[in-house]
């Protein structure tokens, strides 16, 4: 008797390498895996909102407000908020403040990141440069970049440049580390093969070094971007002409919990969105990976 019927199985699995701590396989190759996955995501988000709502109902309003209140706060104050005007921020709403923050983050990340990537990939090749870059990066990498924030404020004042510089500085250091590692991780066999075809340095850089490092560099950019958000908001709280950080500071002083939560939610959502965009970009550029 041979086995012919084809039905959905719930038991056996192809050799997979994912396990949970109980020693049982964590991945299952069943039809409808995607559907179950979506279900889990929806349930997971629901869980988050549910816990928040429950906590808000149990805690005083001075500590936590419901997701609904935060949502409506964002809705009404996005374009213009009377409360913020009191703080000398001008005729603004969350939207324009967010624009300021996003602008600074991206400017800092791109400029600092570009410098970092350049130095990082170059130093992976040139030993002399490496000797110079490594100790600097080692120190700066373990050190909280935050300590520079008050210094920059003193030196450059309450201007956008202060925050952009902080973000750029941080991004440069991080991307040097990531780019170095990315360049080192390229299998030397690729270059050797290229050399047997007579490929010169420029060709090898363009066709091996750059494409080979892109996946890991974008991975590093993701991590750097996530931290850059916090750095920017923090720097804004310390002192800035505009930005979500200033709004947070204003609401803290006003003891306005819904406004404070609204700002945090906006920042979090924007961070998630930019991350998704970066991942999408990565997928496009590294379709081969």
């Amino acid at each position: 008797m041979t086995f012919r019927a084809i039905q959905r199985s719930s038991d056996p699995l192809p050799p997979s390498s994912r396990m949970d701590a109980g020693g049982r396989p964590a991945n299952r190759a069943t039809i409808g895996q995607n559907f179950i996955g979506t279900l889990y995501t929806v349930a997971g988000v629901g869980l988050f909102i549910g816990v928040w709502w429950y906590a808000a109902s149990q805690l005083p309003r001075s500590r936590l407000v419901t997701p609904l209140e935060v949502g409506s706060d964002i809705w009404t104050n996005f374009l213009y908020s009377r409360r913020l005007g009191v703080f000398g921020l001008g005729k603004v709403g969350y939207g324009s403040l967010l624009l300021y923050t996003v602008g600074n983050v991206l400017t800092g990340l791109v400029t600092g990141g570009a410098i970092g990537i350049f130095i990082g990939t170059a130093s992976a090749r040139l030993r002399l440069l490496r000797l110079f870059v490594d100790p600097v990066v080692l120190v700066l990498g373990t050190v909280p970049v935050l300590v520079a924030a008050p210094l920059f404020l003193l030196w450059f004042g309450v201007v956008p440049f202060t925050q952009v510089l902080l973000v750029a500085f941080y991004s440069a250091v991080m991307m040097v580390m990531f780019s170095q590692r990315a360049a080192e991780n390229i299998d030397p066999v690729y270059e050797r093969w290229a050399m047997t075809f007579g490929a010169g340095v420029a060709v090898r850089i363009r066709h091996i070094l750059i494409p080979g490092t892109v996946p890991e560099i974008i991975g590093g950019l993701r991590i750097t971007l996530a931290s850059a958000w916090g750095l920017e908001v923090f720097a804004e709280i310390l002192g800035a002409p505009s930005g979500m950080g200033q709004a947070i500071k204003a609401f803290t002083n006003l003891n306005n919990v819904s406004g404070l939560l609204a700002c945090v939610v906006i920042v979090a959502v924007t961070a998630i969105v930019t991350d998704i965009l970066l991942v999408a970009l990565a997928r496009r550029v590294t379709a081969w990976a």
């Binding site: 086995f3 959905r8 199985s9 056996p12 699995l13 192809p14 050799p15 190759a29 069943t30 895996q33």
Partner: protein, 254 residues
Amino acid sequence: MDPRKPALAVRDIGVRFVRADGTPVVALDGVSLQVFPGEFVCILGRSGHGKTTLLNVVAGLLRAQHGEVRVMDQLVTGPGIDRGVIFQQDAVFPWMRVEDNVAFGLRVRNISTQERLQIAREHLALVGLSSVARAWPRELSGGMRGRVAIAAVFANDPPILLADEPFGALDYVTRRQLQAVLQDLWRRTGKTVLFVTHDVDEAMMLGTRVIVIKNGGIAEDRAIDLPMPRSDDDVATQEGLAIKHLLLHHIGLE
């Protein structure tokens, strides 16, 4: 063990997977076989034809949708200490010293430290690794780690031994050496062995019997009555070459 009763009985095992894109794959299509005590059965076949799947079902690491496996007439429902396994991947625990790795199975059975280390060291001696008993696995070569795996399985003394292409990743010389080690231990202990391989020469050198798996089913089940221990000369006889050609034919090379 009664030599007339099968040590291992596989009855009508059917296994199918569903690939990530939804297409079904029949890995094993109603496979049945019996292995008697003391046999060294080589399961030969090309990659993807089902031999590793069969081994995993016998080991209890994979559940079949259909059929059953009995070891000494006991139904197999999962992995057990009656079936030792030498894995295809390197399963030596890197965080345990060599002798602790070999003694691991004994530790699980709550055998005292002194006793289990002694048994471990005896087995390390049998595979020629006495000098590295306290070394970390990362200090050993691939071949040496292969010996550790063999020693570990034999130290636990299971009646049945299952091996899943354990020497595949090694160079020719190391492979031949480990085959000799395994064969030597098998002859000393009289275990029943199920050995999966894609290498015809390996099957010829090690097996008392060879089963060819093709497309999820058994294509050939042949005894190899050549002398043991086997030398290259024994395999190069007329009888040996006849078997080899038969196997090559089933594999698809002739």
